[in-house]
Amino acid sequence: MSSSVEAITVLSSDGDEFKITVSAAKLSKPLNWMLEDVCFSDDCDEVPTIEVNSKTLVKVIEYCEKHAPRANSGASDSDAEELKKWDIEFMKMDVKDILFHILMAANYLHMEGLYDLACQTAADLMKGMTVSQIRKIFHIKNDFSSEEQEQLRRQHPGCSFD
């Protein structure tokens, strides 16, 4: 059954309530399925929980609301260009603090556009990082023996383990 309301209320994993318009929620496949299956009306007391923390959910909803008009109706080239600039500004965020959470949320909510954007942003940020910065951010331990490090250095003289 299709929904008869303009916006629905969802709960974050922290238990906070958020409003999201139906057209924006449709950007997420699981939310779209839910909208098709459940009748949301003003007297409906069913509030779905999204397993994403409040801080991340605010950003995800912001992205959805911005992209929904274009996703639903298509857009001109100038709109697409404006949206691209907006995406760049939107993605200016701390990697550890929020970007990784956005990645997890976009993956969980099956949001292809946001997932691609977040992956590309993470890759662009990683380009400028040192090997030890990468290890720290991804919680990785250096498991090369000193002999293996030496061998890799010989093969690729520019290689650094720090």
Binding site: K96, F100, C119, A122, M126, F138, D143, L152, F161
Partner: protein, 134 residues
């Protein structure tokens, strides 16, 4: 101030890493053994190539003065990428094919075929009699 980044699953990891240029991947193979192994898997290589910007070889320049040859490629954005021949292969050779988004090129230097990976700078020499027998 230490914030807690979530542990990303392998699938997300791979999706980020396949977007990195080869130069970064060579650097990041020193991160850990798992990453080094991952970068060599056919699956990852195929995913990376699919994401890479395609480049084509347009001309090779003979630098007899410096006894070095420079291969010039033009990429997706019409940028010219120059690769110095790291092996000082001063003999004349012809490029006969390129693949993997222009990273892998095959050269013919009369006595053998050379497969040169521009990204990793690895060179495989294949004698012609062997190549014809295949």
């Amino acid at each position: 101030m230490e914030s807690h980044a979530p542990y990303l699953p392998q699938e997300i990891f791979t999706n980020i890493l396949k977007r990195l240029p080869v130069k970064s991947l060579i650097r990041f193979q020193c991160v850990c053994k798992d990453w080094k192994r991952l970068f060599k898997t056919p699956f990852f290589i195929a995913e990376h190539v699919r994401h890479s910007r395609c480049s084509v070889l347009v001309f090779n320049r003979w630098g007899y003065k410096h006894k070095r040859k420079t291969l010039c490629l033009i990429d997706h954005d019409m940028q010219v990428l120059k690769y110095e021949d790291p092996f000082s292969l001063v003999r004349r050779y012809n490029m006969i094919a390129s693949s993997s988004g222009g990273y892998l090129i095959c050269l013919d230097d009369k006595s053998s075929f050379l497969v040169w990976n521009l990204a990793t700078k690895e060179l495989l020499r294949c004698p012609k009699f062997l190549a014809f027998a295949m």
